[in-house]
């Protein structure tokens, strides 16, 4: 158990350091495109993913640097992907919003809100048809629960009794719009009732609480008892996207209050209270920091893809370059 607890801590720190370095590099122009960080949400990400086996499936969203990390992905290919390099986990074709590592069961980080829900349901259907006991974990935000794809996916999982864990990361805002203004129920977990689905609410800042709730949902799914909707109450400390140069919404004291509930600091206090030595945690943090610095070096020293790679992976067969580009 102690090893597992230290691993919770390590993966949360790994996500935090990965994203803070990425944000700095993005600010300097080293990382192109847009970058959405999940700082403040690390506990629900790690607690959920660590309740899975490596061969279980997971579907993320546009704010999903942390999800493959929590599922066990190596950080070098993830960082190189952010830099658009050919050594990136997606060969430089996906970038920040599609940081998917299939080797750890991450089946796609999809940047159209809610669109990953039917995909996760389909992965569970596939597992079911193959007679496997794999389960499928689907992450989505509060905003996604107003999308039709969410409701269609919930209904399918329910009528077909599929092994899916629907993990709603309720961070209270869709970009700048408060969830409370645009969602018809007080708790998103209530939406499970519409699909006869067991629902749970969990403190998303408490990694062990999330792990326990999701582990129970995984057990239900794996034993053929069907899907569960888990609502993790959490908070995004940063703006919707990094380095936008402006504050979209003044969150005032609310932000300050949530900053007091930093999941890493809460867990540090808990571990120290349980007798873990602070040196041990400091050592983990130093190791993770070095690992991320190494990943930055790996990314920076990697080549960009060849132009021809813009034409591979459209189909399983490569397309030919147009003559004007081939020269």
């Amino acid at each position: 158990m102690e090893n597992e607890r230290l691993e919770f801590f390590r993966r949360m720190v790994r996500i935090r350091r990965f994203e803070s370095h990425a944000e700095a590099c993005h600010g300097k122009g080293e990382i192109p495109g847009s970058l959405h960080t999940a700082t403040g949400q690390e506990a629900e990400i790690v607690g959920s993913c660590m309740a899975l086996r490596t061969d279980d499936y997971m579907v993320g969203n546009h704010r999903s640097h942390g999800h493959p990390i929590a599922k066990g992905a190596a950080t070098n290919p993830l960082m190189a992907e952010l830099f658009g390099r050919r050594t990136g986990v997606c060969g430089g074709k996906g970038g920040s919003m599609h940081l998917s590592d299939f080797s750890v069961g991450s089946l796609g980080e999809t940047s159209i809100v809610g669109s990953g829900v039917p995909v996760a349901v389909g992965a569970a259907l596939g597992a079911n048809l193959q007679g496997s006991d794999r389960v499928s974990l689907c992450f989505f935000g509060d905003g996604a629960t107003n999308e039709g794809a969410f409701h269609e996916g919930m209904n399918l999982a329910s009528i077909w009794n599929l092994p899916v864990i629907f993990l709603c990361e309720n961070n209270l805002y869709g970009v700048s719009t408060p969830a409370s203004e645009v969602i018809s129920v007080k708790d998103i977990a209530e939406r499970g009732a519409a699909y006869s689905m067991k629902s749970e609410i969990v403190d998303g800042q408490d990694v062990e609480a999330v792990f326990n709730v999701v582990s129970a949902a995984v057990e239900r799914a794996r034993s053929g008892k069907g899907p569960t909707l888990v609502e993790a109450k959490t908070y995004r400390f940063a703006e919707h996207a990094a380095n936008m140069g402006r504050v979209l919404l003044d969150r005032g004291t609310e932000l300050d209050e949530w900053l007091q509930r930093d999941p890493i600091e809460l867990y540090r206090a808990k571990l120290l209270g349980d007798g873990i030595k602070s040196e041990e945690l400091a050592e983990i943090e130093a190791e993770v920091e070095q690992e991320i610095l190494d990943s930055l070096e790996f990314a920076r020293s990697s080549a960009y893809p060849d132009q021809a790679e813009a034409f591979t992976d459209v189909f399983t067969e490569p397309l030919s370059l147009p003559g004007w580009l081939a020269q």
């Binding site: 997606c90 796609g108 039917p118 992965a123 794809a149 269609e152 209904n155 992976d313 459209v314």
Partner: protein
């Protein structure tokens, strides 16, 4: 070989591929009850797990097909009517077409989305679309539009065995047509190969789907006037066999493109542009498109029917390019 109908060809292709590979399964609205006759005997043969009725929930089950394909299954999705793809557009365009690319080749999506184009039969604008051209502008999707039962069977079997997403647009005007269809379990027509349906020397008529038999009728009647028409059927729109089309035009020097889709950005338009760009020096006359004009399809039969390509319109257009 036996004479079989277009719908029976679909049934045979699906039955044979379900029998051949246990990863293949079929789902869609009312597939168990066999609405159109393409699943006769399937539940008895394969069971309700592999012949799966879905709720009326296109985004849900099309997306679920994507997810199932990403973990090793080979779903065939029967979307019934072609316009029912629209509720699933996000799943088709953002997930199915793009997942392999976005994830740098980590994902493989061997799935087939089947739809019937249910036009020319007073079903009004919301049930009468021929929407394949819009998907030609979305890389990552292969597209078949067969024009007879043999092609339907051979192309659909290839589509099911292909490791990429394939959209099968099945022309409802051909449902009752019959042709000789090989009963070989491995009868496959490779995707991306056009077929010369009739050889000729004076004009190339490149026709799509239900326009092909109309072009053949037109060619037969024009032969009595001494005009020799070559009818080229692309069969697959993605990949498109431009080499066969251009070779035909190089031989005849005249071209018509015939397509039941609306004219703007139609297959007829795309092929016409390709001919003008790559075979201009062979052309003795401008390329003419015979398509459906850019209006909606009305319910009332006398004003719906004249809007589509017909043998008469093809004959008139051929005469124009011959003069």
């Amino acid at each position: 070989m036996a004479q079989v109908s277009f719908l029976e060809a679909i049934r045979q292709a699906q039955f044979e591929e379900l029998s051949r590979d246990t990863n293949v399964f079929l789902m869609g609205e009312d597939v168990r009850c066999n609405v159109f006759g393409t699943t006769t005997g399937f539940v008895e043969a394969f069971g309700e797990r592999r012949v799966r009725d879905t709720p009326i929930s296109e985004a849900g089950f099309v997306g679920a097909a994507a997810g199932a394909s990403m973990v090793g299954m080979r779903p065939i999705v029967d979307l019934t009517i072609a316009t029912f793809v629209y509720p699933a557009m996000d799943q088709i365009c953002s997930i199915i077409a793009k997942s392999r690319y976005l994830y740098g080749g980590q994902a493989t999506l061997p799935l087939v989305l089947r739809t019937c184009m249910f036009y020319g039969n007073s079903n009004a604008a919301q049930h009468s679309d021929r929407p394949y051209p819009m998907f030609m502008g979305m890389p990552g999707l292969k597209i078949i539009v067969p024009s007879n039962p043999a092609d339907m069977k051979g192309l659909l079997k290839s589509a099911i065995r292909d490791d990429n997403p394939v959209l099968s647009f099945e022309d409802g005007t051909l449902w009752s047509s019959k042709s000789e269809v090989p009963d070989d379990d491995d009868f496959l027509i490779p995707l991306g190969t056009a077929d010369i349906k009739r050889e000729g020397t004076d004009v190339s008529v490149i026709a799509v789907g239900g326009s092909v038999p109309l072009a053949l009728d037109a060619a037969e009647s024009l032969s009595k006037e001494g005009v020799s028409v070559e009818v080229v059927d692309p069969r697959t729109l993605v990949p498109l066999d431009t080499a066969t089309i251009l070779a035909s035009v190089a031989k005849t020097g005249r071209a018509l493109t015939v397509d039941p889709a609306h004219q703007s950005c139609s297959v007829a338009s795309e092929i016409s542009a390709t001919i003008v760009e790559h075979a201009f020096d062979s052309l003795k006359a401008p390329v003419i498109r015979v398509t459906t004009p850019d209006t909606h399809l009305p319910f009332s039969p006398p004003i719906e029917r004249p809007l589509y390509p017909s043998a008469e319109r093809i004959v008139a257009a051929v005469r124009k390019v011959m003069n």
